[in-house]
């Protein structure tokens, strides 16, 4: 099952419950905003999306991940708008039978997300100015 969402506002994690009787491995990633960008202190990042295309590409990527790896469920929320330091901009949960494919699937999904989902960020500096963040592609 796939669930992808691009949301404006704090991310609520997907429920981690006991209903996955055939999934031995549940892996959750939270990507959080760090307090520096290129060595300069920031107070927040502001994420901009290509509305429509970003969510469509995210869904396509989730489908590809599930074709490439034996992933049973892939849930993803990506936040747009202003995200303060410490808060999560990305939340991904993956359920697999074994952990190996979960770790590989997670790694691939996030790497690809950072290459192709049309989302960009601006750094909000301590003085309140807003500057385009450079691409890091890591």
């Amino acid at each position: 099952m796939i669930h992808v969402e691009i949301i404006n506002g704090p991310i609520t994690p997907f429920p981690s419950d006991n209903s996955h009787q055939d999934d031995g491995a549940e892996l959750v990633f939270n990507g959080r905003v760090r307090d520096t960008e290129h060595g300069e202190n920031i107070t927040a990042l502001e994420y901009e999306q290509y509305e429509g295309m970003a969510e469509a590409e995210l869904r396509k990527l989730a489908e590809e991940t599930m074709q490439k790896y034996p992933v049973h469920n892939l849930f993803c929320r990506h936040r747009v708008g202003k995200v303060n330091v410490g808060e999560a901009s990305l939340h991904v949960a993956i359920w697999t039978k074994h952990r190996k494919e979960g770790l590989e699937g997670m790694s691939w999904f996030i790497s690809e997300l950072k290459k192709r989902i049309p989302i960009w960020k601006w750094a909000i500096m301590e003085d309140g100015s807003r500057i385009p963040s450079e691409c890091t592609h890591r």
Binding site: Y50, G52, H78, S89, L90, R116, S133, C135, T136
Partner: protein, 81 residues
């Protein structure tokens, strides 16, 4: 003549100082012609910036002919995550 909507994001928005442009092109114009127009308007600010092309919200692998009403975006390196 055809008219296309060019959506501008991130560095492209920054370079052109707008998030949308309406551009008139000769019939039969292609995405690379349009990219050249956009880069020229940026007055050097997009030099060295790699751009991927999306037409109607889908990445296109190669140059395509544009149709009247197409939504086009030249997508600078993305930064999600």
């Amino acid at each position: 003549m055809i008219t296309v909507n060019v959506k501008c994001f991130s560095q492209v928005m920054y370079a052109l100082d707008t998030d949308i442009l309406l551009i008139e092109l000769e019939s039969g114009a292609t995405t690379d012609t349009l990219e050249k127009i956009i880069r020229d308007r940026a007055d050097g600010k997009l030099d060295g910036v790699s751009l991927r092309t999306a037409v109607n919200q889908k990445y296109i692998p190669d140059v395509v002919e544009l149709k009247d009403g197409d939504e086009v975006a030249f997508i600078p390196p993305v930064q999600g995550g």
